[in-house]
Amino acid sequence: MVKQFFKERLGTIILLVIVAIFVTVGFFSIKKAKNNAITYSEDYTAPEATANLLDEGEYKLVAQTSKLELYYNDVKGAIQVKNLENGHLWKGVADKEVYDIDDLNAQWAAYLQSPITISYNDLKKRDSGVTKLYAGRDCGFLETEYIPNGVAVTYGFLRPGIYVTLEYTLEDDNLVVRVPWEKVREDFKYAITTVEVMPYLGACDNNRDGYLFYPDGSGAITTYAKVGERPSNVKGASYYVYTNKSVSFNTLFTDAYDRYTASLPVYGIKDGDNALFAFGTKGAENSGIIVYPSGYVVDLNHACFEVYLRNVFNVNMYNVSGSNGVATGGNVQRVDKNLIKEDKEIRYSFLCGDKADYGGMAASYRDYLLDNGLIKNAVTADTYPLSLRLLMGTQKDGLIFKEYVEMTRFSDVIKINESLKEKGVENIENILVYWQKNSEDYEYWGPDRHLGGKSGLKDVSEYAEKNSGINVFLENDFLVASDATKRFNEDDDVAYDGVNIEIAQETFEGKTRYLVNPLAAFNRNKAFVKKIKNYDGLGIGYWDIGRYAYADYNELHPYTKSETVRQFTELLNESMTNGKKIASAGSNEYVFKYTDFLYMMKEGNFGLSITDYEVPFVQMVVSGLIPYSTEGAGNLSYNLDIQKLKWIEYGASPYFYLTYESALNLRDTDMAELFSSTYADWEDTLVDTYKEFKDNLSCVYGKQMTDHTIFSEDVRKVGYENGVVVYVNYGEKDASADGYTIPARGYIVTGGAK
């Protein structure tokens, strides 16, 4: 009877069960979402404004060191800093002396005179855009508290009910600005997201002699004098510290990464014989740098730090309805419930005379890193090592199964190094790429049997151990995994974005790639270190740890961006304490403390139209402390002479990306971009280049690069701490500089011990 009943209604029952499952899951999902949702007070009336920051007021001395004086105007809420070395006054906001404010509309006049701006989102609207307010116009409340060596100023934006406090102090002959997160107050339904800190501090017009320096790639400058050569629609540029702000495969692993990422939290403004250098020292992970060259509405060149107090997401969901009840079909904005619980601290150094350039800025930053133990001294050799990346293997589509293409076996690694050694190349940094079994599935361990397996790897390890000048690093990618990766949980080990979606991507092969949760990355590395514990001669090449740092909303192991950085430094520390040498392909500041070799460093920048010149700022910071090579491989360059000059200008080791087998085998594989890599074809070039560097440039290896001057489009001058000066000429004709003649497509080394 019962059986009959069920049999007759089986369809209905199944339907009911499905509906019940959906309703239950839906109920709990909505409940969870409500718990996560931000609550706010509906009762709010904006208080009367008591302050007007556009009033004149008066600057009064509030703090002093042997080199600086800090002045504060309690009506404008703005500061000025006087450099006592030469009396130069740095203004926190642009006044009439800096720019003809009367010619501007009210909004821009207010912007120029704003010590800060804020951005906020309306929490009531699920797809509200960001609103920006200028302290000069919108700050109706100002409160000043005098603290040791400075002032704490609270700026109140009354309409959205947001209050932010900034502390300006003088410490160690720097101006230090802090934004304490606990002092942020939100009275109504609006959530603060960002604060621009002194956007017009040190702003310069086009008549000044100088430039803006910003951390695009290895470093970039836009010079005031070149304003006439820029396009009519000049746009500003934003850079996000350590990783693009938006985290997805499309923004991390494409051009967008280079477009928006700053590996160091720095910027600088040169104004004649003076320069301002700003660098983030706390909470830098959650900040960005904004650069506006002259021409974007106002003819002032300015730059500033923007600090993020909350994360904002652009959620791409085509079937989620917006505030008007209609499906948006595109991006929906969402902000975090909580503020990022960390204080931000920015330091401003004021340089003058010879030091007032990006060389001086790099030296300041290097000193800061050294003083705080944030960079290690890893130089051991006395000449530039040869930097090799060796592609070990790849795959090719076969008729039914994929075919493994062996490019460099472990025994070939030894052959290459041995052969080079015989020819006089004593220092080699080898990075082995795709040496793992199933490397296409992001496996971190298991030397491929085609390459010689574990015994082959062991031989390499023993070889490296025996030969002190030769280092071998196994490159690994710990931050990406796929659904085919072993020992990887596709739910728990994955990084999520703020709306609980895995950061993933479908590949053409139908697999899914995931960004890995920082803890999972740490564990992957820990397991790897354990596996290679007995391979004493091998180091680890980190492809991505020094490139990407991101916030992860994984429910089991959530990470803010800063926590991720901490986790990654623990990861590197784990390897270091286990005696492993470390090479890093990323040069985010947090790797400097652990890295023995930096490779694939930028040797240029993204190439925005506002950028006039690329400069080796990052190289100047690490030069003489950590050996490095840049991303331009000699064998992939259209002209090796030009590439060589680039290495020399950037103080980098000569670098080649090679294979033992012929590059013709790479046709129709995923590595087809390696169009010319056969070791036998390049061996002589390698030896010659190494010897040339050894003979001519050993005098500057291990020395700090202190000066970099752009003489003309083609000629550069690079100075080192020991007085050696290298002139580089990229042009097709001989050039002269400082009384020297530099041969076409050549270089000369002068001064110092040379």
């Binding site: 989620v320 969402r334 053409f508 590059a663 971009e673 010319s676």
Partner: protein, 718 residues
């Protein structure tokens, strides 16, 4: 990117079944590459570097310092640069050092949206003053000499004259782009005819319409026109080089004195009757599937992996005949040699220097620098050739001039920088061929998959080998023939035996061995075999057809491996086993239900079991022909392709014949009825495919719907 991956993605996209919201992987962001007419990019060293950018006229005080919607540029023989600054109604002239030296506004009536310019060797400027419906002739100082308005002609009555892009020939004729034509005007402003129209060929539907439609109906039929021209330039060789939207013959044309296209063509459009169904399938389905298998100007896929049809906004040609075009949608610059082979592609859309927002014009100066005008960025970017591409230019030019040894040396030089540069290997293969080193030529050609050069060398090599070892080869051939004959004899005997055993031994079921033998017997005695099936249907082994299907598939896959390189239609790494399976079995398998349905409603007697068997038998010609053919192909080359095609056609013919006979015998139909039922079955097959496709799409949609609901629940979004 592998072709087969592309195909699967495209098929998915075509069927609009995207089961996941994740985005496909972007292509590698290399700066320079070549595609060689396939869908794969082969990266090469940087070929051009940015030398300079001109953003304005260099006079900051001037209110019109910046360009406004510039639309064309021209470089004269002294490397002076002219920019048609349309939004500011002026022409700006720069010297070779990129200093602004003159600004021309039209004396009298001001320019109105001028869109094109040509400058003669004497410095005279011809400006297409588009919205004023005229061409303005100014002297080198900017003084008005004359203007050309709509030339009177019977062919152009009623059309508004809106000249945009133009060139002046050495004879003084003005050639102006005008829709599907290039209009020629002489120095007196007289219409001299239309030039360069593509032959559009006949169209079956059109022929039928003309035949049967009434005069009133004909009025509603849209006239079929050739595709429009986009832009043109004048080469040092006196040819007009043009870009068009013409997809049949090719978007880039080199027009000789009488307007015939003598550049590389996809195919020659002739006056043949076109099958509209085939045309539709070619244009709508196969286009995406066969993408990458044949040459195409531009590329099949853009940086995001999406299928694209190129729009070449402008074209320029240097003194050596190297052609460079700029693609407007992707911002890619494509460069071709004198024969239309791709030398390099670079550029793209973006914010960085060297990329574009809307590129509209390109020209080349005497040093080989490329000048590219961007309408939205309102600037000109100047690209300087690197030593690498200069060497390639020189190599192609010396080869075209017949200096093979020098070109060989230059190609060797190219290979020291890029071991994988295809044209260098082809160039070297050609030189080896000319020097009589055929095996080396074959090896080089094989590296880059060039079947033409390989064929040339192989044919010669074959001859050389034959001459050197005539007797052993003849003996070997005789031995092979004898062995083959013996094998055929044994095979026939075995199949005969299988048949008779099955027919005579009524007590037992068909064994697999007998079944297979029976199938091949049917190849030679189809009527007997079908009769046999009909009367012994209950004893048929159901497994045998599937073994035959599997066997055919194995033969197909083996064939792909073994077939001689110049005759292979697809590279091994591009083979998609699933696609091959579907291609091979779609007809025989879908024939089974279709034929059963058709015959069931029309007095047929056949049942699924024997139809399946008959369907499998239809593949035996394929097996029997392809098995020896794959080995035989190794002494054939592309020049014997037509011969080779006969065998392939035979296999298809055999398939059809077996199905036909099966239909006739199994159902006891007359010849006429069999024909009708064949049509009916074919129609039902089509219906079946459509229904399956529909089910696939709808199921995909449903799954997508359920997944999106589940995703909504998963999100922390409120």
């Amino acid at each position: 990117m592998k072709l087969r991956k592309r195909i699967s993605i495209l098929l998915l996209a075509a069927l609009t079944v995207m089961l996941s919201a994740a985005t496909p992987v972007s292509a590698y962001d290399g700066t320079s590459y070549v595609t060689n007419g396939t869908s794969e990019r082969q990266y090469v060293p940087d070929s051009y570097v940015i030398a300079d950018i001109i953003n304005n006229i260099g006079d900051p005080e001037n209110r019109q310092n910046a360009f406004k919607k510039p639309l064309d540029l021209f470089i004269d023989k002294d490397d002076n640069l002219y920019i048609v600054d349309s939004g500011n109604s002026r022409v700006v002239k720069y010297n070779a050092d990129h200093e602004c030296i003159a600004i021309f506004k039209c004396p009298g009536k001001a320019f109105k949206n001028p869109q094109g310019i040509f400058v003669g060797d004497d410095g005279d400027m011809y400006v297409a003053d588009t919205d004023n419906n005229r061409i303005v002739h100014l002297d080198a100082e900017g003084n008005l000499i004359e203007e050309f308005t709509n030339p009177e002609s019977d062919l152009s009555t009623g059309d508004v004259f809106t000249p945009s892009k133009l060139v002046i020939s050495e004879t003084g004729y003005i050639y102006v782009v005008r829709g599907e034509n290039i209009m020629a005007i002489d120095g007196n402003g007289t219409f001299r005819g239309y030039y360069g129209q593509t032959n559009i060929g006949y169209n079956l539907a059109e022929v039928l319409t003309r035949m049967f439609a009434s005069d009133e109906q004909k009025l509603f039929v849209k006239k079929r026109l050739a595709s429009s021209y986009v832009n043109l330039t004048y080469g040092d060789d006196g040819m007009i080089y043009a870009t068009s939207m013409e997809r049949e013959e090719g978007e880039i044309k080199k027009l000789n004195a009488i307007g015939n296209n003598i550049y590389r063509k996809y195919k020659t459009v002739g006056n043949t009757l076109q099958n509209p169904i085939k045309a539709w399938i070619d244009n709508n389905i196969l286009k995406a599937v066969v993408a990458g298998q044949s040459f195409k100007f531009g590329e099949y896929f853009d940086d995001n992996g999406m299928y694209m049809e190129p729009l070449f906004a402008d074209i320029c040609v240097d003194k050596n005949g190297i052609v460079t075009v700029i693609e407007q949608h992707t911002g890619k610059v494509y460069q071709y040699d004198q024969d239309g082979r791709m030398l390099v592609a670079f550029g793209g859309m973006g914010e960085k220097k060297g990329t574009f927002t809307r590129p509209v014009a390109i020209d080349v100066d005497s040093k080989g620098n490329l000048y590219i005008l961007d309408q939205i960025n309102a600037n000109v970017q100047i690209f300087e050739p690197t030593d690498f591409i200069k060497c390639i230019h020189e190599a192609t030019s010396t080869y075209n001039n017949g200096d093979y040894q020098k070109s060989y040396d230059l190609w060797r030089q190219v290979l020291t920088v890029d071991e994988n540069y295809d044209l260098a290997h082809i160039g070297i293969a050609n030189t080896y061929y000319k020097q009589g080193e055929y095996t080396k030529a074959m090896d080089e050609a094989k590296i880059v998959g060039d079947r033409d050069v390989y064929t040339l060398a192989f044919d010669k090599y074959k001859y050389v080998v034959l001459r050197a070892h005539f007797l052993p080869i003849i003996l070997l051939a005789l031995a092979i023939i004898v062995v083959t004959l013996v094998l055929i004899r044994l095979f026939l005997k075995a199949s005969n035996k299988g048949y008779w055993e099955f027919i005579s031994d009524k007590s037992s079921k068909m064994s697999i061995r007998r079944g297979i033998a029976y199938s091949f017997y049917a190849l030679f005695h189809p009527f007997d075999a079908m009769e046999g099936l009909k009367w012994n249907r209950d004893r048929i082994n159901r497994l045998v057809p599937f073994i035959i299907f599997a066997l055919a598939y194995v033969v197909r896959m083996a064939y792909l491996y073994v077939v001689h390189f110049p005759l292979a239609s697809i590279e091994i790494e591009d083979v998609n086993p699933w696609f091959e399976l579907v291609k091979l079995l779609i007809v025989p398998i879908s024939w089974i239900p279709a034929s059963f349905m058709a015959t069931s409603i029309s007095g047929g007697e056949s049942k699924i079991r024997e139809i399946t068997f008959a369907s499998a038998i239809s593949l035996t010609p394929f097996i029997v022909i392809n098995l020896p053919l794959m080995f035989l192909s190794n002494i054939m080359s592309k020049s014997q392709k037509s011969w080779y095609g006969v065998f392939t056609a035979l296999a298809y013919f055999g398939l059809f014949l077996v199905l036909f006979i099966a239909m006739m015998v199994l159902n006891n139909y007359t010849f006429g009825k069999t024909c009708a039922m064949m049509f009916m079955s074919a129609f039902l097959m089509l219906v079946l495919w459509l229904v399956l496709l529909l089910c696939y799409v709808l199921t995909g949609r449903m799954i997508q719907f359920v997944i999106s609901i589940i995703n909504e629940f998963r999100l922390n979004f409120l």
